[in-house]
């Protein structure tokens, strides 16, 4: 019997990442307490190496491997490159925070890399089980990361909540997938799509499966009404981990929706479109209205995330390349803004002091006008005010929604974004209009300073010249469909 080895080429980056995770764990053991920079640099090197591999092996062709369970297309490559960049930025931003709080251990790095590997698998999966494995790898790493501060009651509670609810959502998802398997006899994304198209499978069973899958997806996206975990976890987790949870996994979640709903069950668009409309409207409503009442900055940003996920879902509703590429643009813009915003929050933390309340932003303009300016750009961008990238993200999805004939949905969306503008303005108010409560200077490492400045200016520069990123998102979608 001949064993034909599969083509490993499309998964080189993942294999390299897996090797590097082991290297980082071992290196941490050898390096010990004194030389924590060794695993840190190795982690960055792992991300850089993956980026190089993905970049060099980039091709416009779509290739499948592992009996069609794994796919490497343009969308996957572009999303993976974004993920590496985001994770690398997360590591730079959180370095001092994590060091000050004694979380800088080998587990921290390896868990982050495992989570990254999970995202890579999710992005490249073309089989329901591969998708599920990637998702679980990501989620389990995240649960552990949230609980990394064992002495913090809040963090432990958040991790428990996250874990229990996450497991429930995974259960939903698996149940939905089993229904789909029952109806179509396959778990391959492409085969499922073909069978649904041929119309031989039972529509009722498929719809039941679809409902469970959409519920599972909404949980992972933190879209209302499956959003309840987000505020608690965002608030309870150490800010560095919140930054991680809030940024890169959204890119993977985008791929997740694309693979499951669009590529797998694209034929059932009439069924899931209505569900997404409800999810989008509820997310925008709950996110924007509940955010107003928050005094905790991380909780507020959690609700802000929920509302942004509502906008992201709007992009899927139109169910064409125009909408998907708008959604991709939205998620990239969102990740860029979230990175900067949480970096600002961590900037205000000092050793022994957690910036938790919105009022900690008070008088930032007087303490450091440059950081206040960056904060201004980020907040206005989140609110969707031109000429910042957040505006074009909203413009793109609204355009897709109107194109699909849902003008009322566009009107609802802009009205909720008006409500949303209020709480972003409130932060600007604290930064610019109020007197500082403390005059302690804001200290930051050089690399954080540079990265945060670049991050803030990118929000502005990509707002003035958005074509490049829009073109890239369009290319990624059109080349993969």
């Amino acid at each position: 019997m001949n064993f034909i080895p599969p083509d490993f080429a499309p998964a080189y980056a993942e294999i390299f990442m897996l090797v590097m995770v082991c290297v980082v764990m071992l290196a941490d053991l050898v390096a010990g307490e004194k030389r924590r920079y060794v695993p840190y640099l190795l982690t960055q090197a792992a991300l850089l190496g993956c980026a190089l591999i993905t970049f060099v092996t980039f091709s416009t062709e779509t290739s499948y491997t592992f009996s069609g369970m794994y796919v490497d297309d343009s969308m996957a490559d572009i999303l993976k490159l974004m993920v590496y960049g985001t994770v690398s930025a997360v590591l730079i931003y959180s370095h001092s925070y994590v060091t000050d709080r004694g979380m800088l251990s080998g587990e921290y790095f390896s868990l982050i890399l495992f989570a990254t590997l999970g995202m890579m698998v999710m992005i490249s999966a073309s089989h329901f089980l591969t998708l599920y494995i990637g998702l679980e790898l990501l989620s389990l790493s995240l649960y552990a990361l949230v609980a990394l501060r064992r002495d913090s009651l809040m963090a432990t509670e958040a991790a428990m909540k996250f874990f229990v609810l996450g497991a429930l959502a995974s259960g939903f998802l698996l149940y939905g997938m089993s229904m789909v398997y029952g109806a179509t006899g396959s778990l391959h994304v492409a085969t499922v799509s073909e069978v649904i198209q041929s119309g031989v499978s039972s529509h009722e069973v498929l719809v039941v499966g679809l409902v469970f899958i959409v519920a599972g997806i909404s949980f992972k996206l933190s879209a209302a009404p499956f959003h309840m975990w987000a505020p608690d976890v965002y608030q309870g987790a150490p800010t560095a981990i919140t930054l991680f949870i809030g940024s890169a996994p959204k890119l993977a979640a985008f791929a997740f929706v694309m693979r499951l709903l669009v590529e797998g069950m694209g034929e059932m668009v009439a069924d899931w479109q209505g569900m997404l409309v409800i999810l989008a409207v509820m997310s925008m409503a709950v996110g924007n209205i509940a955010a107003i009442a928050q005094t905790n900055i991380k909780r507020m940003l959690a609700y802000s995330t929920i509302s942004h996920m509502g906008f992201l879902i709007l992009g899927f509703i139109s169910a064409d390349w125009n909408g998907y590429s708008s959604a991709l643009f939205y998620v990239i813009a969102y990740v860029l803004m979230t990175l900067g915003t949480f970096a600002m929050v961590m900037l205000l933390c000092r050793s022994g002091f957690e910036a938790e309340n919105i009022s900690d932003f008070k008088g930032l303009n007087k303490r450091n006008s440059w950081y206040a300016f960056i904060g201004l750009l980020l907040m206005l961008s989140l609110a969707g005010i031109p000429p910042l990238i957040g505006f074009y993200a909203k413009l793109a999805v609204l355009q897709a929604v109107v194109n699909a004939g849902f003008i009322w949905l566009a009107v609802v969306a802009v009205l909720f974004s008006l409500i949303g503008a209020f709480y972003y303005l409130r932060i600007i108010k604290f930064m610019y209009f109020d007197e500082p409560e403390t005059n302690e200077p804001i200290e930051s490492r050089f690399d954080v300073k540079m990265l945060l400045s670049a991050n803030g200016l990118a929000v502005l520069a990509l707002g003035i010249f958005p074509q490049a990123l829009m073109g890239l998102s369009l290319y990624a979608i059109q080349n993969s469909m």
């Binding site: 006008s369 413009l395 355009q399 610019y432 074509q467 073109g471």
Partner: protein, 494 residues
């Protein structure tokens, strides 16, 4: 004409770049440097705008100084600029007001000077962008971006209730403009993928969508003008804003709304404009009469001028929806003239406020004894505000009333009451503040205006008198464009 030279880009980006340079001077140690850079930059901004007037062909109805470059190909959004007889005078007005605003803040602003001066310059460039954009998204970007500097100006350097006023200003304006954005996106779909405003002018639209688009535009522009009943943000914003902010708000930002009606509502939805003209005229007349009466009751000078702005802007919207040349041109003259007069009025109040730190009319009295030169200037501007013949305030109002008579006598009658109410609230305030016995020891200690303040008021006085006596240079450039617009509006797009 300077063909090929990107004059409009220069007019937009020069002030913005200078503004960034002013920001870069940093903290208050370099305050004097920041002031001088801002001053020189604003003067340069005005100088580069002059070729716009001298090179303007007033016989042509097409857009001039056109620039067209691809910007966001993904959605066919272009960097498309151009001016006609409607936008050109407004750009000049804006470039003219900016140096005045910089000078007005010279001494008063002692905190975070670079941010203050920079914000005004950036604002000036953004507003030029609004007036010269011929692409709907480019227009929208400039339109919304103009909120940011103003929000900060009110919020940082404003009065005690500044936070409330700043947020109210921002959210009110945002509410209006978001629906306009949806209207643009709808037009993008129906026009087959174009954001060009000139394409929209030619686009046939059915009646119901026209009404809805008109209402979406109306919300955006009515808030900005502001028309009754969405004017309530204006008195708050004016009262709390620093003098420079009030001047900019009244002289320039309110004109954005008026401009929007001429550039968007009327040409894009002519049938809806005709259909709803009665409502628009009614709202305008309510603004003129009712707000005039409210102004009479004010005890705060800035509030009084703010309400008088609403009343005067009522004339502008009234003139537009009369659909005749007198009305539209009169409204345009009124916009320019109101730019000068309201700027001057707010500067006068600012001069008093800098000395006494009160805006209450009751705290003043007998100012003429101590500040005779100031009293003379204030008199001129108060008369202009009341619409005295020979000042610019008269020309626009008279033209609009003439236009109104042609349509309906009673419109003209109600509009003309402003000549009484305007005189009543302005002159009564003037009397209480300036004449009479010296009211208090604080007034006794007042000093007359400095040379800097004299120069400011003198420049505005010349402008007000010039337009009052010889408005031809303004009406001449807009004549062809307005005629063309009226022809366009009279044709149904159904």
């Amino acid at each position: 004409m300077l063909f090929g030279f990107p004059l409009l880009s220069l007019i937009i980006w020069l002030p913005i770049m200078v503004g960034v340079a002013v920001f870069a001077t940093g903290g208050d140690r370099n305050a004097q440097l920041a002031r001088w850079i801002a001053f020189v930059g604003s003067i340069l901004g005005f100088l580069v705008a002059i070729p716009l007037y001298t090179g303007f062909d007033s016989t042509a109805s097409a857009m001039q100084f056109v620039e067209h470059r691809a910007w966001i190909e993904r959605f066919n959004i272009n960097y498309h600029l151009g001016v006609d007889g409607i936008s050109m005078p407004l750009i000049l007005l804006n470039c003219f007001i900016t140096p005045l605003v910089v000078i007005a803040g010279w001494k008063v602003i002692q905190e975070r000077v670079s941010q203050y001066m920079g914000a005004f310059l950036v604002m000036s460039g953004i507003v030029n962008g609004v007036f010269s954009s011929l692409d709907a998204i480019l227009f929208y970007v400039f339109w919304e971006a103009s909120l940011i500097p103003m929000f900060l100006i009110i919020g940082i350097w404003g009065g005690p209730n500044r936070v409330y006023a700043a947020i109210k200003f921002f959210l009110y304006t945002l509410l209006g403009s978001l629906l306009m954005l949806v209207a643009f996106i709808y037009l993008y779909q129906t026009s087959g993928g174009s954001f060009s405003i000139e394409d929209y002018h030619q686009l046939p639209i059915a009646f119901t969508p026209q009404i809805l688009i008109f209402i979406a535009f109306l919300l955006a522009f009515a808030v900005k003008v502001p028309m009754w009943p969405v004017h309530t943000w204006l008195p708050d914003a004016h009262v709390e804003a620093p003098t420079g902010g009030s001047v900019l708000l009244a002289a320039i930002l309110l004109k954005l709304g008026g401009y929007g009606f001429l550039r968007f509502s009327m040409p894009i939805t002519p049938d809806a404009s005709e259909y709803l003209a009665g409502m628009m005229i009614a709202l305008s007349l309510i603004a003129v009469v009712y707000i005039g009466l409210i102004a009479l009751m004010q005890v705060d000078m800035k509030k009084l001028i703010a309400y008088s702005s609403v009343a005067h802007m009522g004339f502008v919207t009234l003139g537009f929806f009369l659909f005749n040349a007198y009305g539209v041109e009169g409204a345009m003259v009124q916009m320019i003239s109101h730019g000068f007069i309201s700027a001057a009025m707010f500067l006068c109040v600012g001069i008093l406020y800098d000395r006494l730190h009160s805006r209450q009319i009751a705290d003043y009295g007998g100012v003429v004894n101590k500040m005779p030169v100031f009293a003379a200037f204030f008199m001129l501007f108060a008369m202009a505000n009341a619409g005295l013949p020979g000042t610019s305030g008269f020309v626009g109002e008279f033209m609009v009333i003439m236009g109104a008579v042609k349509v309906n006598f009673w419109y003209a009658f109600l509009a003309a009451t402003t000549l009484i109410f305007g005189a009543a609230y302005t002159l009564w305030m003037y009397k209480r503040v300036i004449f009479g016995e010296v009211a208090s020891p604080a007034v006794e200690a007042l000093e007359d205006i400095s040379r800097r303040e004299f120069a400011l008021l003198a420049i505005l006085a010349i402008a007000v008198l010039w337009i009052g006596v010889y408005p031809y240079p303004i009406t001449e450039v807009m004549h062809t464009t307005v005629d063309n617009l009226l022809i366009h509006v009279s044709q149904s797009k159904l």
